[in-house]
């Protein structure tokens, strides 16, 4: 299935003079129509894009996880009321109004999916990657989570319980990954550097610290 734009047809007509594709023309026409009719403010469009392209992203969630690893009282607040604890960082709002944080432990591994569309906790992770929104992941995460994790390079022992969270309502899920070994004494900022987007979806573990740290 064609959900991946590997050709990366950025802006056209580009330096090579490529003509605009059909979809580029269609979107440009729609934007002009909506602007002409006074239904959208073009400057608001630029601000919306800039927000999710440069400001909101998984670096937000990484700070939340690093604090949960460092501060037991914060971790408790985070697990009891995700959105309220996350709001302490100022990360609030659209597609994160009601966030639930699910904790990985030695016996439990959590995995987040949205089989029906693409629900994802925007204030802490930004917009979802293409694979998360695509049919292969959405179809199999609930059918064969162990196989899906293996595809991402994680082989879980049989005795570890997998909990898959299908985001069918307006609750949004964030995985609190396990704190890697050998990170004692690291600062929150250093810890945040080990927390990847994929670890907060549940398809990866947090990174191990570099050997020389």
């Amino acid at each position: 299935m064609n959900t991946h734009d590997h050709d990366h047809d950025h802006d056209g007509p580009g330096p090579h003079g490529a003509p605009l594709t059909e979809i580029q023309l269609r979107v440009k026409a729609l934007e002009s129509l909506l602007v002409d009719k006074g239904l959208v403010d073009p400057a608001a469009l630029d601000t919306l894009i800039d927000t999710y392209e440069t400001k909101v992203g998984p670096h937000n969630g990484a700070r939340v996880v690093a604090r949960a690893w460092s501060d037991p009282a914060f971790k408790q607040r985070l697990l009891e009321n995700g959105s309220a604890a996350i709001a302490e960082f100022g990360f609030t709002g659209r597609q994160g109004e009601d966030i639930l944080v699910v904790e990985n432990t030695p016996g439990v591994h959590n995995l987040v999916v949205c089989t029906l569309c693409s629900c994802y906790p925007w204030p802490v992770l930004g917009l979802p990657p293409v694979w998360y929104k695509s049919a292969p992941y959405r179809s199999r995460a609930v059918l064969d989570p162990r196989g899906v994790l293996r595809e991402f390079g994680i082989e879980l022992p049989e005795e570890v319980e997998i909990r898959v969270w299908d985001s069918t309502a307006e609750l949004r899920y964030l995985v609190l990954p396990e704190r890697p070994a050998g990170t004692e004494g690291m600062t929150e900022e250093e810890l945040a550097g080990l927390v990847t987007r994929d670890a907060m979806i549940g398809v990866a573990n947090a990174k191990a610290p570099a050997k020389d740290m």
């Binding site: 919306l48 990657p129 695509s134």
Partner: protein, 219 residues
């Protein structure tokens, strides 16, 4: 609706293909579709459940053969026409037939940050009594509406256990169809993989699905 969007449990969709260092958008038209969808949504002529339903109505073969933001573009054009903000002929021609005076609640650049940070929770303060409590055994109803539903096909008719009451939320199945918010309790319901997929699935692993009172019956 039993559409191509309801993907849980299907085989044959191919390998998962993560892209290293993936950009937020892959080309400029995706940026514009994303922003146009949010900005047009702020006009208040439709709700998020109607947006999802609009995308679901892309014909199945097309849904599976197009990219994510093509789904969004399809849904946006459909809602703009349904709500008479644009005429189909205008979309066809790419030119406005008449310049209308605009609407009062156009999203302005200076309001974007405030609007995004505020969000719009679907949680409601209405207090219909919950039909279920944590620990209750339930069965997901065998419903197959032609309209919107957040009850995925793979859960229908399956037994689960209510694990948590999230509180009262807007019911998308009616809200998407413009039949009102119908607020009711929404629960995290735990289904074992074995109950969903049969005896060869793991008995230890589970899927938690968020479902509303109207999706469930006592087991």
């Amino acid at each position: 609706m039993n559409g191509a969007h309801d993907l849980g449990g299907m085989h044959g969709m191919g390998p998962i293909t993560p892209e290293p260092d993936e950009p937020v958008f892959h080309n400029d038209w995706e940026r514009r579709v994303f922003a146009l969808t949010l900005a047009a949504g702020a006009l208040g002529r439709w709700n998020i459940d109607m947006s999802r339903f609009a995308r679901e109505q892309m014909p199945g073969p097309e849904y599976l053969n197009t990219t994510y933001y093509e789904h969004w573009l399809f849904g946006l054009e459909r809602l703009l026409v349904e709500k008479s903000l644009l005429e189909p002929a205008e979309i066809q021609a790419g030119r406005a037939r008449a310049v209308t005076p605009g609407l009062p609640n156009v999203l302005l650049a200076e309001d974007v940050a405030r609007v995004l940070q505020k969000g719009a929770s679907a949680r409601r303060t209405d207090s219909p009594p919950p039909r279920f409590r944590p620990g209750d055994q339930v069965v997901a109803r065998n419903l197959n509406p032609a309209g919107h539903t957040r009850l995925p096909r793979y859960a229908r008719g399956r037994r689960g256990v209510v694990e948590r009451d999230h509180g009262v939320f807007v019911f998308p199945d009616s809200n998407a169809m413009e039949r009102g918010e119908n607020p009711q309790h929404c629960y995290s319901v735990r289904f074992t993989l074995r109950d969903l997929w049969g005896p060869h699935a793991s008995a230890r692993d589970s899927v938690h699905i968020d479902l509303w009172d109207d999706h469930l019956e006592p087991a």
